[in-house]
Symmetry: C2
Subunit: 223 residues, 2 copies
């Protein structure tokens, strides 16, 4: 430390808190580390870890400094030690029971994609407004009507909600999910949700992403 270092009794050590960008990178490090572990590699340096992801070594070290663990100077980081530490920091060292609203093609794609399950995002309830879909079973889960949201979410203990419904319905469905006790939403509808501040929202707006891509390509061709 520059002057001295006496108030070092921060029980958790580490920086104030990971930034959003840093959290994104931690997710990527985690996936890479798990992959390395499967190859039997247990020691990795910040340079190696960042290389495949296009991140500088210094950035990797700063990100990993948010964790409680420490690397080993001259050696690198220990993957079996790092993986649980990242999980803990991200809050994914436990299961997140999740409700999925809107059982269309997108929902089916999400259900089939087992990358979620493997990482603790267990879909525990399905809802749809369409009476024709209610009562059907998809991937072993019954589709419930929106009206039953309260009791079903209480029973299943869902804490997160995924909105795969049309834009017009998304605000009302979001309100219903929040009323039922859900604390975080992943929104696929192209709209901005207005929700109480204790509810977290992450939006995946595919149109915006495509427009970003168009802009980048456009920039490449025109300068």
């Amino acid at each position: 430390m520059s002057k001295d270092g006496e108030f070092s009794t921060r029980q958790n050590g580490s920086e104030p808190r990971p930034s959003r960008a840093s959290v994104t990178r931690l997710s990527l490090y985690l996936r890479r580390l798990e992959s390395l572990l499967q190859e039997g590699i247990t020691t990795v340096s910040s340079g190696q870890l960042g290389e495949s992801l296009g991140v500088t070594d210094a950035q990797v070290r700063k990100d990993l400094a948010h964790l409680g663990t420490h690397g080993h100077p001259g050696i690198g980081y220990d993957a079996p030690e790092l993986v649980p530490a990242i999980r803990r920091t991200l809050g994914i060292d436990r299961d997140w029971p999740t409700a999925l609203v809107g059982v269309g093609n997108l929902a089916r794609a999400l259900l089939r994609y087992h990358g979620f399950l493997d990482r603790g995002f267990r879909i525990v309830a399905l809802f749809d407004a369409d009476p024709a879909k209610v009562g059907q079973f998809v991937d072993g889960l019954e589709v419930h009507p929106l009206e039953r949201m309260g009791p079903v979410i209480a029973t299943t203990g869902a804490e997160l909600g995924i909105l795969a419904v049309p834009s017009e319905a998304s605000q009302s469905v979001a309100d219903a999910l929040v009323a039922a006790g859900v604390r975080g939403l992943l929104n696929f509808a192209p709209c901005v949700l207005r929700l109480p501040s204790h509810v977290s929202v992450v939006s995946v707006d595919l149109t915006v992403q495509l427009e970003q891509l168009a802009f980048l390509v456009h920039l490449g061709s025109t300068g």
Copy 2:
């Protein structure tokens, strides 16, 4: 411009170039403006435009300064004037013929979602590695085998590609698309693609998004 600023003969005026965050917001402004126009509202102030999106008025003005157009002091901005200006800046004042690889549930969801078509992202070709799917018609489009990528992309003139294939296949499919002349990729696979620098990539990594959400909720409960 720290010392002086004599090479100010940038014919297009305006700031150096919109940042990535700024481009994202421009997409959102565009959508909001189109919605306002449908309600018959043609004049809007920076404050009004930003309010619904959670953006400050100053930020909106800075973003709009990237455009060639100007607002009207004391009045606000003119939506019919702004909409084409944003389109031009984003490079979406034209069609973007797009190829879609991997005809699973995600692809079907994207095809059904007409928000893309309306905005010029026309899906013009479908590909799949599964022989059972090849030859089928989905939403009026024939599914081609991967081997035919070169000629089909040449014929259809696709400039963008959407990767809705499993992780393991994504790098090779990306390489094939690039070899066929595609200049931009929207990647849904949870992996980092290595591509020549003249190709732009936007990745939508759903696991990372869910982990971000878990982190935010986790943060809310633990402090």
